[in-house]
Amino acid sequence: MSTPSVCLNHINVGHPEQWILNDINLIVEPGHFLGIVGPNGAGKSTLLHAIAGLIEPDTGHIDLFGECLSRFNRRKLLAQTGFLSQKQETPSMLPMRVRDVVALGLATYPAPLWNFSRHETKVKQALALTDTEALAERDYRSLSGGQQQRVRLARALATSPRLLLLDEPAAALDTHAQELLYRLLRRMCDEQGTAIIMVEHDIAAISGYVDSVACLNTRIHHHAMHGETIPEEVWHTMYGDHMHVVAHDSHCIGCHDQHKNAGDA
C-alpha cells in the first residue's frame, strides 16, 4: 500500500467552547479526488489552510507524504503541493505577463532576479493544461475574473504538485469552463497520481468527477465514497431541518440511493 498523500489525525482548530474544526480524521491516497462540502462557516477553508501549513492546528497532527508537517520540513513538503485560494487577498496591481505569473509558482527559492524564464517548459505545460496558452503574453490585470482564476490554477500546477488543495476553484468560471476544470483534475488524478482535495458548494457539479465527498460542518459528519448514499439526516445536521433532498441523478454521490428508490417506486 502506498504512503498516503495526506493523513489528518485528530485535528482541532479553535477553542473547546467553539471549535472551528473538531476531531478531523482523514486519509487521502495518491490519485484520490476528495470533494469537501458544507455550509458557510463550516470550516472548509480552514481545513485547507491547515493542510497547506497556513495555520497550525491547536491539537492533532498533519502528515504529508508520510512525514509529519512541522516547521522544520514545512518548506520541503509544501513545495510538493499546489494551493489555489478562493480569491486573491488583494487584487494584483503588478504589471506582469500571464506567463510570468505562472512562473511565480516556481519562485519559492532565492534566485537572480532576471532569471524568470528558466522553467519555460513547465510554464508552457501549465498554460496548456488550463487552456490559457493564448493568454500567455497578455497583462494579467487585463483578464476577467474567470481567466485570472485559470491562470492562478496554472500557477499552482506549474510545479507538477503531488497534492493539490483547491478552495472553490470553479467559483468564477462559467459552466463550460467548470466542466473542463473538473475533467482536467480527474485526469491529473488518474494519469499522474495527483491527490486532490477540493472545497466546493455544489455537490451535484462535482459528484461525477470525485472519488469521495466529505460532509464537513465543524466535524466530518459523513465521508461518502463514489456510489454511496449520503443519508438525509446528514444533510439536515449540516444545513438544518429545512433542507429538502431531491434525487436528480443516479451518478450523484448524494442522490445515488434516493434516485434508485424513486425509480423502484
Partner: protein, 279 residues
C-alpha cells in the same frame, strides 16, 4: 557643463548620489509592489529619533539613524499583525511617536549646532568620507538582499497566501524587506532629507509602472529614471543654485508627469499598450 565637473563639491557628490540612485531604483519597485509608500514616509520621519539620539549621545549620525530606521521598520513588520492593527495605523503611531522623540532630543542638543535644514531636506554636497563609507556598506547590503530575495518578494507581492502555501517563509522575507526599506530610507535621507526621501523611493518605480512589465523590466526602467533624475537634478541644482535634494525630487516629479502624459497619449491617441514597449 564644464563648470559642474570642475566643481570639487559637485564631483564629490556624484558618487554617493549615484549609489543612492541605484539603491532607490531597486527598492522603489518593491515598495510599490508591496504598497509600502506610507511605510517609507513613516520610517523616514522616524529616523529623526535616531538622528536626535546620535546628536545627544555624540554617536555617528548615519549608522545610528540606520539602526533606528531598521528597528522601526521591523517593529512595523511585526506589530500590526499580532495586535489586530492594520499597517497604516501602526505606521501612523510610530511615525508620530518617533518624530516627536526626535524633535525633543534635537531641541535639547541645540548647542551642538545641528544642521536641521540638512536633516530635513538633505545635503549630499556635504557628504563626508565617513558618510560615503557608510553609504557603500548600506548600498551593498541592500543590493545583495534585493538580488537574492527579489523573486520571493515579487511572489509575495502578487499573492502572499499562495506564496506561504508553497512553503515560502513569508514572514521572514517580509522582515527582511522592511529592514531593507529602513536602510534605504536612511541612505536617501542623506540626499533628499527626511521630508523628501519618499520621493526618491517612490517616483522611479512610479514612472516605470507606466512603461515596464515584469520585475526585471520595471527594475531596469526604474534604474534608468533614478540615475537620470539624480544626475540631471544635481546639474540643475548647480546651475540654478537650488537645494540639491529638492531639485532631484522635482526632476523625478517632472519625469513622472511626462511618463503619465506619454502613457495617456500612447493609449488614448495611438491606442497602444504602454507596457508592451519595454517587455
Amino acid at each position: 557643463m564644464s563648470g559642474f565637473f570642475a566643481s570639487e563639491v559637485m564631483r564629490a557628490a556624484l558618487f554617493p548620489s549615484t549609489l543612492i540612485a541605484i539603491v532607490a531604483s531597486g527598492m522603489s519597485v518593491m515598495i510599490l509592489a508591496h504598497r509600502l509608500a506610507f511605510l517609507a514616509v513613516g520610517v523616514s520621519h522616524a529616523t529623526l529619533a535616531g538622528l536626535g539620539l546620535a546628536v545627544v549621545l555624540a554617536l555617528p549620525l548615519l549608522p545610528t539613524a540606520a539602526a533606528t530606521a531598521v528597528i522601526v521598520s521591523l517593529m512595523l513588520a511585526s506589530m500590526p499583525r499580532h495586535r489586530g492593527l492594520n499597517d497604516d495605523a501602526g505606521t501612523g503611531v510610530l511615525f508620530a511617536g518617533a518624530m516627536a522623540l526626535g524633535i525633543v532630543l534635537l531641541s535639547t542638543a541645540s548647542k551642538y549646532e545641528v544642521d536641521l535644514f540638512g536633516l530635513l531636506f538633505g545635503n549630499i554636497l556635504m557628504a563626508s568620507e565617513r558618510d560615503q563609507y557608510w553609504l557603500m556598506w548600506g548600498s551593498s547590503i541592500v543590493m545583495i538582499s534585493l538580488i537574492w530575495a527579489a523573486r520571493p518578494w515579487w511572489s509575495i507581492a502578487f499573492d502572499a497566501k499562495t506564496a506561504a502555501a508553497s512553503g515560502l517563509p513569508v514572514h521572514l522575507y517580509r522582515l527582511l524587506l522592511y529592514a531593507m526599506v529602513g536602510l534605504s530610507v536612511v541612505m536617501c535621507v542623506k540626499l533628499a532629507g527626511i521630508v523628501l526621501t519618499t520621493g526618491l523611493l517612490v517616483l522611479p518605480a512610479a514612472c516605470a509602472w507606466f512603461w515596464g512589465r515584469g520585475l526585471f523590466g520595471l527594475w531596469l526602467i526604474s534604474l534608468l529614471i533614478s540615475l537620470t533624475g539624480t544626475w540631471l537634478g544635481l546639474f540643475l541644482s548647480y546651475i540654478l543654485d537650488w537645494p540639491s535634494g529638492a531639485t532631484v525630487v522635482l526632476t523625478l516629479c517632472a519625469f513622472f508627469g511626462l511618463s503619465w502624459a506619454g502613457s495617456w497619449l500612447n493609449q488614448s491617441i495611438f491606442g497602444g499598450s504602454p507596457q508592451r514597449i519595454f517587455d
